[in-house]
Symmetry: C2
Subunit: 254 residues, 2 copies
């Protein structure tokens, strides 16, 4: 079956503009362009569009959808879990807003006269609170919010077995790393095995693994005192060692 924009649009219940837009942003390209310049979609495109719309219905951004439906290595379930966290955050904020609005309505209805100054005072306090809630941002700004963000909020969503496996992996990383540190060569087999274990461990937290992000995280272990302290706990220098091993593992220039 082949479809023109209009046909596909009607079939899927979207506008033709939407299909052209998806073409433009390379989310969904037509199978071919005919001699008149018309977009022609085939069965594969229909199926892909179904997927796209499915995720769109869940409120996922088109950018994320692109990753989900195009990158085969992408962990869709993890992406959805992240998305859920975002939605829950949104709802929390909404609830706060609603509470504030209702408070205000109650105030005006109760004829409690509140001067603008007073309003502003409360509002300023709120602003300050907001700022303080954002306090954790410095690190995020430094290493890209995703790096920190994604990992932090993931733990809660693991199943029992996943949690056990991830704990086991973490211990194995530590043990292997300590062993590798003894010979002092980050390029050694055992050090590389530690890097590989570290990658496996990471994969439980990240929805998409990339060498760049892995290498960046390794550098962060050295730069951030708290992480550094954790890895250096038994042997000072371990954080740097791990970084070097990971950088070799990921093929980063040293």
């Amino acid at each position: 079956m082949e479809y023109t924009v209009q046909h596909l649009a009607r079939l899927a219940g979207v506008s033709t503009r939407t299909l052209r837009y998806y073409d433009e942003i390379e989310l969904l390209k037509p199978a071919r362009i005919n001699s008149s310049g018309y977009r022609i979609y085939g069965q594969a495109e229909v199926d892909k569009l179904q997927q796209v719309l499915f995720y769109r219905e869940l409120g996922v951004s088109l950018d994320s959808i692109k990753e989900i439906v195009t990158a085969p290595s992408f962990n869709g379930a993890n992406a959805l879990k992240e998305h859920r966290e975002q939605l829950l955050d949104k709802r929390k904020q909404l609830d706060l807003l609603i509470a504030n609005v209702e408070k205000t309505i109650a105030l005006t209805e109760g004829r409690i006269t509140m001067t603008d100054k007073e309003k502003f005072e409360g509002f300023k306090q709120q602003l300050i609170d907001d700022n303080e809630n954002n306090y954790g941002n410095e690190i995020r700004e430094k290493y890209g919010d995703d790096t920190v963000n994604k990992s932090n909020q993931k733990l809660k969503n693991m199943t029992q077995e996943e949690h056990e496996e991830v704990t086991r992996l973490a211990n194995e990383v530590t043990a292997t790393l300590a062993e590798a540190f003894k010979n002092g060569d980050p390029a050694s087999d055992i050090a590389q095995k530690a890097a590989d274990l570290h990658k496996q461990w990471l994969s439980y937290y990240w929805s998409e693994y990339s060498k760049e992000a892995h290498a960046g995280l390794a550098q962060m272990y050295v730069d951030d005192e708290r992480f550094k302290a954790h890895y250096d706990e038994n042997q000072p220098g371990t954080a740097e060692f791990l970084r070097d091993a990971i950088h070799i593992y990921t093929g980063s220039k040293k």
Copy 2:
């Protein structure tokens, strides 16, 4: 006290860009511009900015804020109540989204293999449902969504006394209108009194009264069968009569 952009921005905790933007959209203009073209704000502007930011914190759009803080006739409490309804709607949708996302996560985790087709089926159903939920839109499209929208959802938020008053007014409108209809002149004093009562009644539902909207609503009473049936219940022709009276009252060309 006089402030430059920077000073006011720091005082209120916003960016200078924000202040320039508010100037641009005529939400908050500086008190004056000095000889060098600098924006100079005075005490009145500080106070107004406080109000603006207050409503902004509640998630009100700048457009609505403009109406609230500039139009003295504007009913701020009603506006807030509308806003609350919107927020509650948003939360409902969010909850639906979250439920769907969780369902999907559960499915993928439970290893229940769901073909894309099947996913799409459910999704299509959802689309249809959504469309059906939007069924009431024809009238809204015809008369501007606000006209219908705002009035429908307002009842729930009235206090006991407000409800009584609004019921009394509605009855008075009906009685006065019936009386006026007897002499058949929509320009007569009594017909104009009916129009005025109708306006008072309306004011309980609308956050901002305008002659145009009032006249439009009157026309709608004639065009929409349900409304027409309601007004014509005892005397056919009453809907048209009311429309004419209101059009004269609001000064619309006949």
